[in-house]
Subunit: 205 residues, 3 copies
C-alpha cells in the first residue's frame, strides 16, 4: 500500500459514483419503458426526475471543482468526465421522451437487446468509478465497454435492416430510426466516458 | 482593480467579440429567412457572405495564436473557443442553406421560436465575450445559455411531435426534420461555446 | 538542422503513418464498393478486415503511450490523433456496411465525387504524417483538407437536393441519406484529424 500525501478531496470519487449510479437507474427506466404493459407517461415522468437528479450531481461536481484548491486529477478531466456521464443520461432521457412523443405503439423486440447492452454498460461504469481512486482494474472496464459498444453496433445495424425490410410504413421507419439512434447514441456516450477514464489513467500513471 | 503584469495581447478579446458579433448577424439572417415575404435566395447569399466573414475572423485568431508568444490563456483553449464559435455559424448557415435547397414552401410557425432562442443565445454570447478579460459575470451567462438550451430542447420535441402528427407528407417530414435539427444543432453549439468559456474560467480562476 | 536531444521514440511516427495508410486502403475499398460490377459482400468483407487492422494499429499506439516514458508530444495529443484517425475508418466502414445492409441497388453517380474527395483526403493525410516529426509542411496539408471539406460540403448539398428532387421513393431517400451522411461524416472526421495535427503543431512550435 502506498501512502498518499496529497490532500485530495475524496468526495470527487463519491460524486462520480453517484453520477454513474444515476445511469444505472436511467437504463432500468428505459427497460421499463419498452415493456408493453408499462404506463409510458408515468415512466417518462420518473425518467425526467432521474435526469434532474443527475443534473444536480453534475452541478455539485462543477461547483466543487471551482471551490477546491487541490483536485485528485486535472480540473479539465474532472469536468470532462462529469459532462460525459451527464451526456449518457441526456441520450437515455431522449430515447424515453421520443417513445412517448412519437406515440409509437409497437416497438420491434430487437430494441430490448440494445437496452440490455445499456444496462450492462451502466453497471460496469458504476463499478469502475471507485477504481478511479487507485487507478486499478480500469483496463478491463475499458475493454469490456469497447466490446459492448461493438455488440451494440451490430444490434444497431441489424435493427436498421429490419426497419428497412418493408415491414414498416415509411413514417414509422422515420420514428423508429430516431429512437434506435438515440439508444446507439447512449451506448456511444458510454464509450466516450470510458475513453475519458482511460485518458485520465494514462496521464496519472 | 487588479494590475495585470502579463504582457497579454488585448486583441484576442477583440477577435472573440468580433466572432460572436458575426453570430448575432447570422441569427438575424436566419430570422429573415423564415419570413414569408423574404427573398430566400438573397438572404442565403448574404448568409454565405456572413459565414465567410466569420471564417476570416477565425483564421485571424489561429494566425495570431501561432505568432504570439504570450497568450492571455492557453493556446488550446483559444483554439477551442474560436472553433466553437465557428461551429455555431456553420450550423446556422446549414439551416439557411437547407431551407433554400429543399425548396420548402411552408415552414411550421413553431420554427420562429427556435430562431428566437438562437438570437438570444447570440446576444448573450456576444455580451459575455468582453467578460473573458476579467473572468467576471460568466457564471450568469453560462446558466442562461443552459436555460435557453433546455427551452430549445422543449421546442424541438414539440416541433417533432407536430411533424409526425400526420399533417405533413412523409417526404416533407424528412426535409423539415433536417432543418429543425440544424436549428437544434446551432443551439447545442452555443452550449458548447458556453462550456468552453466555463472551462477556461475554471482553469484561470 | 536542429539537433534533437530528447530521446523520443521514433516509432510513434511510424504508427501514425501506418494508421493513415489504412485510411488510403479504406477509401479505395469504398470506391470499389460504388462500382456497379463489384461483389458488394466481398468488398464489405475486405473492409471489415481493413477496419480490424486499423483497430490493431490504434491499440498498439495506446499501448505504446502507456509504456513509454518520454513521448514525442503530449500523451493526450497522441491519444487524440490516434482516436481521430480511427474515427475516419469507422465512418468509411459504416458507409460500406450501409450500402450492403440497405441492399441499395442504384447509387446516384454523384456519390463517386464524394468518394474521390475521401481518397484525396486519405492520400494527403498519409503524406502529412511523416511531417509530424519535423512539424513542417503541415500548414499546406491543413489548408488543403479544409478546401476538400468545403468541396465535400458542396457535393453533399447537391446530392441532398437530388435525393429530394422527386426522382426517388421516400424510403429510398431515407436509405440513401444515411449512406451520403456517412460519407460526409468521414470527410468531417478527416478535418478533425487535421485540426488535431494543427493543434499539436501550435503547441510544439
Amino acid at each position: 500500500m502506498r501512502f498518499r500525501f496529497r490532500p485530495v478531496d475524496g468526495s470527487f470519487y463519491d460524486l462520480f459514483s453517484e453520477a454513474a449510479n444515476h445511469l444505472v437507474g436511467g437504463a432500468d427506466l428505459l427497460a421499463e419503458m419498452l415493456s408493453e404493459t408499462s404506463n409510458k407517461a408515468d415512466v417518462a415522468e420518473r425518467m425526467r426526475a432521474a435526469e434532474h437528479a443527475a443534473d444536480e450531481t453534475t452541478h455539485q461536481l462543477i461547483r466543487r471543482v471551482n471551490s477546491t484548491f487541490v483536485t485528485p486529477f486535472d480540473r479539465e478531466d474532472i469536468y470532462a468526465l462529469g459532462s460525459g456521464l451527464d451526456d449518457v443520461m441526456d441520450m437515455m432521457d431522449e430515447a424515453v421522451d421520443l417513445i412517448l412523443l412519437y406515440e409509437v405503439k409497437v416497438l420491434p423486440p430487437e430494441l430490448a437487446g440494445q437496452v440490455q447492452v445499456l444496462q450492462r454498460c451502466a453497471e460496469i461504469t458504476a463499478a469502475a468509478m471507485p477504481g478511479l481512486e487507485g487507478m486499478k482494474a480500469l483496463d478491463e472496464y475499458w475493454i469490456e465497454i469497447n466490446r459492448l459498444e461493438n455488440e451494440g453496433d451490430k444490434n444497431h445495424r441489424r435493427i436498421l435492416a429490419k426497419l428497412f425490410s418493408g415491414e414498416f410504413k415509411t413514417i414509422e421507419v422515420l420514428k423508429l430510426k430516431d429512437i434506435v439512434e438515440s439508444l446507439e447514441g447512449a451506448i456511444d456516450a458510454f464509450e466516450k466516458v470510458a475513453n475519458i477514464v482511460e485518458q485520465i489513467s494514462v496521464k496519472e500513471s
